[in-house]
Symmetry: C2
Subunit: 472 residues, 2 copies
């Protein structure tokens, strides 16, 4: 509801009253949500909040601080980072009040704003704006809505939540990269996914670049990266045929990478035939992942490139069998500078809720008792029907809510205690307070609905007894 009246239309539109304004009848009409967006009914919302609470808790435990920005930004914030091709992936936004904006769009221009397709440009803008005063390193996370003007498919919607974790301004890139990855991996663990359910493929774009140059290719590095990024999604035949078409010598390239691959998989840096600064740094990253206790979830894999142009070092993806990537990220040391900030090393990842929730659901990792746990009522208050009890009920409910308890009661007319205990159990209440005949002597019954036990005591002791019962 708006707190203020839109004055304008008060003058355009007759007002509705229950009888006085026959001029505007209730016109009934059904609506659908926009395609590719979601309605979150209470059970759906409980799942979303459960996932978000794991993301938030893990982020905070790893020392990241939460930030957020506008849901829409100037459209050129996104083209600045990603080039003009991004425009067709965006939902464009304009003010219905601004005649100039409307006229410009009718002339064929893009709208001035776009719904956020990713958080990184907002993050870079925010860091650049306050780079001088922000304490370093900057460790931020955000969990906003994101939007893509794409065709909805499994694992891909037009509006989705995405967890963003970024570590900016630390010169020790191996430590920063490892901490960011450890944060993502801890969230997987906490959600119940084992390293065989979901694992991290890691690489370093510079290793691929070195192999590309050492193998003296006749295609451009962009063509090679584009192909390599699609390697796991193409059949071997398709891949080779595309490679042949652009002039990418797969054999020569793979030979260059083979030493690196073998060495990293065997975790034996002595197997690198021509160690470089880049391969040394990759082994430092593996050492750091070991220190953080997450090395077992990580698989070095030079085939990952992550198409995004701005990655400058480490790249990684979280993968589950047969699904789109759960998360993706890496090091992007040039980005803050490109948004007008100082040169600052940076690393981060994004993890959407759609693929993740599909996987958790398919693996039975969203059981109701876990998802609903924080939403269980502390107490369900029951009146057994005496007038005194009926009068006491709203006062008691208000008193307990004021004391911070989640309190429910029936809205039905029944005073059958058995039926009402059933209603209490159905809404998963932990305790029931029964205002029965004992109320005449100022006493109430407290029933533990999980344990099945009950106790009777003076009404004045209720808060003390509730606390004790909930601590058990």
């Amino acid at each position: 509801m708006w707190v203020k009246i839109p004055q304008l239309w008060l003058h355009l539109q007759p007002m509705t009253g229950p009888r006085q304004s026959p001029s505007r009848k209730v016109q009934s009409r059904r609506f659908q949500p926009p395609r590719g967006t979601r309605d979150f009914y209470p059970a759906d919302m409980a799942v979303r909040r459960y996932i978000e609470s794991v993301w938030r808790e893990v982020s905070i435990n790893h020392g990241f601080e939460e930030v957020d920005g506008p849901t829409f930004e100037h459209l050129d914030l996104y083209t600045h980072k990603s080039g003009p091709g991004i425009v067709s992936e965006l939902f464009q936004v304009f003010s219905g009040k601004d005649e100039e904006q409307i006229a410009a769009i009718r002339r064929g221009e893009d709208a001035p704003y776009a719904l956020r397709p990713e958080f990184t440009p907002t993050l870079a803008r925010m860091v650049a704006a306050k780079a001088a005063e922000l304490p370093r390193p900057i460790k931020w996370f955000a969990i906003p809505s994101h939007f893509r003007a794409e065709r909805p498919q499994r694992g891909r919607l037009r509006e989705f939540m995405q967890w963003n974790v970024d570590f900016i301004g630390s010169d020790d890139s191996a430590k920063a990269d490892a901490e960011v990855m450890a944060c993502a991996i801890r969230a997987m663990e906490k959600l119940g996914l084992s390293p065989s359910d979901a694992w991290v493929r890691i690489s370093d774009r510079r290793v691929i670049q070195e192999a590309f140059h050492a193998s003296r290719q006749s295609c451009t590095i962009d063509e090679a990266f584009d192909l390599l990024d699609r390697r796991t999604r193409l059949s071997e035949h398709e891949f080779l045929s595309h490679a042949n078409h652009v002039g990418f010598d797969v054999h020569a390239f793979d030979l260059q990478l083979a030493n690196f691959s073998n060495a990293t998989i065997l975790a034996d840096r002595r197997r690198i035939r021509r160690p470089t600064e880049v391969t040394e740094q990759f082994f430092s990253l593996l050492d750091q992942l070991e220190s953080c206790g997450v090395r077992a979830s990580c698989v070095p894999d030079p085939n990952i490139v992550r198409g995004l142009a701005y990655y400058t070092g480490t790249v990684f993806e979280i993968i589950a069998e047969g699904e789109r990537a759960i998360a993706g990220g890496g090091r992007y040391d040039n980005l803050i500078e490109s948004f007008g900030g100082p040169s600052m090393p940076a690393c981060g990842f994004g993890m959407g809720d759609v693929v993740l929730a599909n996987i958790l659901h398919d693996k039975g990792l969203l059981p109701e008792e876990v998802v609903m746990q924080p939403l269980r009522p502390h107490v369900f208050v029951i009146s057994a029907g005496k007038e005194e009890a009926d009068a006491e009920l709203p006062r008691l409910v208000a008193r307990l809510r004021k004391a911070g308890y989640h309190v429910r009661h029936t809205y039905r007319s029944t005073r059958n205690v058995g039926k009402l205990l059933g209603e209490a159990a159905k809404c998963r209440a932990r305790l029931a307070v029964i205002l029965g005949d004992e109320l005449a002597e100022g006493r109430v019954v407290l029933k533990d609905l999980d344990a099945g036990e009950q106790r009777e005591f003076p009404l004045a002791d209720l808060e003390k007894e509730l606390r004790a019962a909930l601590d058990r």
Copy 2:
């Protein structure tokens, strides 16, 4: 970050590597957020989350369940509720990929979607879609972002958070209205606002309608409502001059209302000279507010009308001296039906974060120790500099984070324990673990930074000691 590559522009735009792609240099450019939107840096976000957590906790304690819907909806969802005048208050949205949408806008049509200016239409659509299966009453809350294409002013932004609480499908309107209002008032209390800081003006549109008809006015009821709604914002002279202009007899109207006003203010229903069903219902509401223990925050005030066309009974606003309304709501019994659902009584309110945060800030009710409390690190881990301690630190940090603690450590090179204890205090850590010379014997020091005390014990006991120290 996007998890997927925007394939399209990979072909349009050369890729950046640290050395290999001189074709795309870092073009540095600064950006501003859109006017009237906010960047939430960590301190701002802590305030937002604090307010949202109070809203959420109070909602849940009152038995409301959280829901959410899309950030953008079909534009005609909003015109259906509010009439065509709303369009100029909306941010319009279209897909940059959809040629038909773009062509239609260029022809002069509205965009197909709009950013949510209020939650009620989404709520009504969602209730209507599942009315048959949803258990009743339906008690929902939501805390999404909302958007208005208006000029930003104090207390009014183009993007803001709004708490929506709705109670649908209960025939006992006085109880439902009182429970909804009690929920709003409890949130005010919990945020530290007393009834003299912020109070609830309540009325019933039908009382005003009765007074309008009984005073035999020559203007329309819409003209009268429009004027009455602005009464407190106009000077007496302006108000009378406008009234005179449209033919609204203020004296006759006030006389009709005087009995009602006196009776409600004195809480004495016998003072109503001509009691009607409507005035009786209003006293029932006051009784219910009394039962809920929030009557002291409520002031009957027939001058409140709440311009929105869809209110059908109770209307209320939360007011603070010299500010825009903090919240507004009321009963809207026709709305669900107008969105294709069954006829269902309903009542709710919306409370934005902008005016509220201004008031809390001005009254000193956002002290850092309250806002930052949930974000305090449990423990700050310090290495005093021995090689063994430096090696243990990342393992210990990872182990404690995995156990669910919020753990920080320095990213600076200093090993001066005094300086590091200063850093720990600065980030508000509750405890510090010091890996000093004792580590050689497998022992560590735990310092309570609030109490100033410290203990030494075996490293293996750390989790147990941490739990004990945090429980103190």
